[in-house]
């Protein structure tokens, strides 16, 4: 009996292996070839929420465009791959998408390591890669190449300059302590924040810098140290996602939100707090930045997008979803302008293009291919009119949050 089972297994394995090369059916001869977009994101594990959300944003755009006749009469086709938050896997999927699936464009990624790996690859293969979530400023600065574009705001404005500017306009604390995740993004965010804030408030001090390994969910020891540090304010460097929720709960339980001024970039992004109800811990009174304050955006297209996203995946849209939507429409606009899927011409068209976003036209800066997407800031409250904590009275920080072209020139030397 056992050997029979084993035989079946091995034969089955053999069939599967033999059948694989034959698995891909021939494309329909009658239809025009679709424009293929390879979508690589983290679809499993701890960060899969962003992958799922970004995919939804992309799918909504693709469906809308196809329903309206496609691009130059051709359908858009999205092919999704999971990078498992590993640069090795992401790179492998990118290679497969380009070589086997013959995609015309690549988009995606949350991990900066994956984004950097793919951006190095697309330079060789000469394919356009549009980033929608990955934060590292290196992607569009030191390690940039012309085939890479980025829609989302990067770590410099979002985690660094924007909170510093916001802080300089509001509380202006003199003694700050920081806590961050111990990896490149965390270190660079703190460096950017320090640089900008000390420029605006020269007599301020960062009295201590605490680091926790990436993925920590128990910050009890860090919080007790912070509580005893004598600092007026706490700055969180690149603590996001599950770690941020855990930190908020623990800090809230310790009463930190009442004792100190909290600067918590990313707290403004609602996708993290989707599940929080009135009475639960939340970043009360914290100064936060936000990348897609959809509840405050009075644009019917945005509202429809929010509804559609919620229907598709069951939670509020992340800024990643919005960015993918914008990215796909940007490709449509560029391809229609050029009249063909010609990578080199598309690069010239995309650089400096005006993006149609939910907050009006936003320029995709030609020098570094970084979209000048705004960052909003405000104080977090959990008002009864909305089912989630959010920034109140959102203010915008636009292009001034980004590195200037001169600064990038210096970094690229």
């Amino acid at each position: 009996m056992r050997s029979l089972v084993k035989t079946v297994i091995v034969l089955g394995l053999g069939f599967v292996l033999a059948g694989i090369p034959c698995a891909n059916p021939a494309p329909a001869a009658s239809k025009e070839k679709p424009i293929k977009i390879g979508f690589i994101h983290t679809m499993s594990g701890a960060m899969s929420m962003y992958g799922t959300s970004s995919e939804a944003g992309a799918k909504i755009a693709v469906e809308e465009i196809n329903a309206a006749g496609g691009v130059l009469g051709r359908e858009l086709k999205l092919i999704t791959r999971d990078d498992k938050l590993s640069a090795e896997t992401g790179l492998r999927e990118a290679k497969d998408l380009v070589l086997t699936e013959e995609v015309d464009f690549l988009t995606g990624t949350i991990s900066s390591a994956v984004a950097l790996a793919i951006s190095s690859y697309v330079e060789k293969e000469k394919k356009i890669f549009i980033v929608n979530v990955s934060q590292s400023s290196q992607i569009t600065e030191e390690k940039w190449n012309p085939y890479v574009f980025r829609i989302n705001t990067n770590a410099v404005p979002y985690w660094g300059y924007a909170p510093a500017i916001a802080l300089g306009k509001t509380w202006k604390p003199k003694k700050i302590i920081s806590l961050g995740f111990d990896y490149e993004c965390g270190k660079n965010s703190l460096a950017a924040f320090k640089e900008k804030y000390l420029e605006l408030v020269p007599d301020a001090q960062i009295i201590d810098e605490l680091w926790a390994p990436l993925g920590t969910t128990d910050f009890t020891a860090h919080i007790t140290k912070i509580a005893n540090s004598g600092a007026e304010a706490l700055f969180l460097a690149c603590v996001y996602g599950g770690g941020e929720i855990a930190f908020t709960k623990q800090a809230f339980a310790f009463g930190l939100y009442d004792k100190m001024k909290m600067i918590q970039p990313c707290a403004g992004d609602v996708e993290t707090w989707s599940d929080v109800k009135q009475g639960d811990p939340y970043p009360k009174g914290a100064l936060a930045t936000c990348r897609y304050p959809f509840w405050a955006i009075d644009n019917p297209k945005s509202k429809a997008f929010v509804e559609e996203h919620k229907k598709m995946v069951g939670f509020w849209p992340s800024y990643g979803a919005m960015n993918e939507y914008v990215a796909i429409y940007a490709l449509k606009k560029a391809i229609e302008k050029v009249g063909a899927v010609d990578t080199e011409k598309l690069i010239k068209t995309l650089a400096g293009i005006e993006l149609d976003t939910f907050v009006g036209p936003v320029m995709l800066r030609a020098y570094d291919h970084q979209a000048m997407m705004p960052n909003w800031y405000g104080i977090i409250e959990f008002t009864p009119d909305l089912p989630f904590p959010h920034i109140t009275n959102p203010q915008i920080i636009g292009e001034e949050g980004y590195h200037t072209i001169e600064q990038i020139e210096n970094l690229r030397k």
């Binding site: 899969s48 799922t52 390994p213 969910t217 020891a221 005893n228 770690g243 339980a253 009463g255 109800k277």
Partner: protein, 292 residues
Amino acid sequence: MTLEAALGQVLSGISLGMVWFLIAAGLSIIFGTLKILNLAHGSIYMLGGFLCYQVTSAFSHVPGVFWLALLVAPLVTALVGGCIEILLLRRIYGLDMIYQYLLTFGLILIVGEVCKILWGAGYNTVAVPWPLNGTVNLFALSFPKYNLFLIGMGVLVFVGLRVLIGATSLGAVVRAVTHNREIAGALGINVPGVYTGVFMLGCWLAGLAGTLTPPMSVVALGADLSVIIDCFIIVVIGGLGSISGAFLGSIILGLTTAFGLYIIPKLAVAFGFILMIIVLIIRPRGLMGVSD
């Protein structure tokens, strides 16, 4: 460092340690009696968290729903553990360690994917249950009540396990089987039954830990992988199979992590591994030996 600061780090270190102990206790017992390195222990812990979330959100209108979850979730994980033991583990006892390692690794993949299918990829939160919200003031230091509760639970679990294994007749049976499986069987003890029972107890403990941590943390995918390595470190430092060792090891690791923040923050990430290696080289049976 002021007295207040030191006290703060001591308390937070013990709190950290007790959370680790709650998670690692089950692994320690399973290894002690069954001699299996259950890689999937973290997955059962994560499953416990998701079950806690499921109960608290499905019955959120019921007052005291968290305590209901505390009752239900570990029972479910114990049942899941029982199924795993009877259907899968029974066939690989006595085999080379690599088969146990790979089988339980396969379970990590399966349980993780099932959790994703059932509960999705987002973050889920569980509220701190009444009456444990708020802080307590100890010498001008405010410490959350819930963390004190966790410390208490850690001690309770430790004492409970010591009493169960050390002072009851059931415990005597388990100790007999741990000591010598063949002779215990020859004496008429239902050894397979004891194995199943101990594994279920280990999974019950994992589920308990999985239910106790969400109020001060988050329920999400990925907890299985991040937790299991820490468990291994504690179980090794304490001594494979020793509950007292795991308890002591957790406290030591917690305190060194908490004070390490003041002294050598850079080394924090590797510290557990370095300690693990030192223990394995100098005294491989850990702080408190092989069996309780």
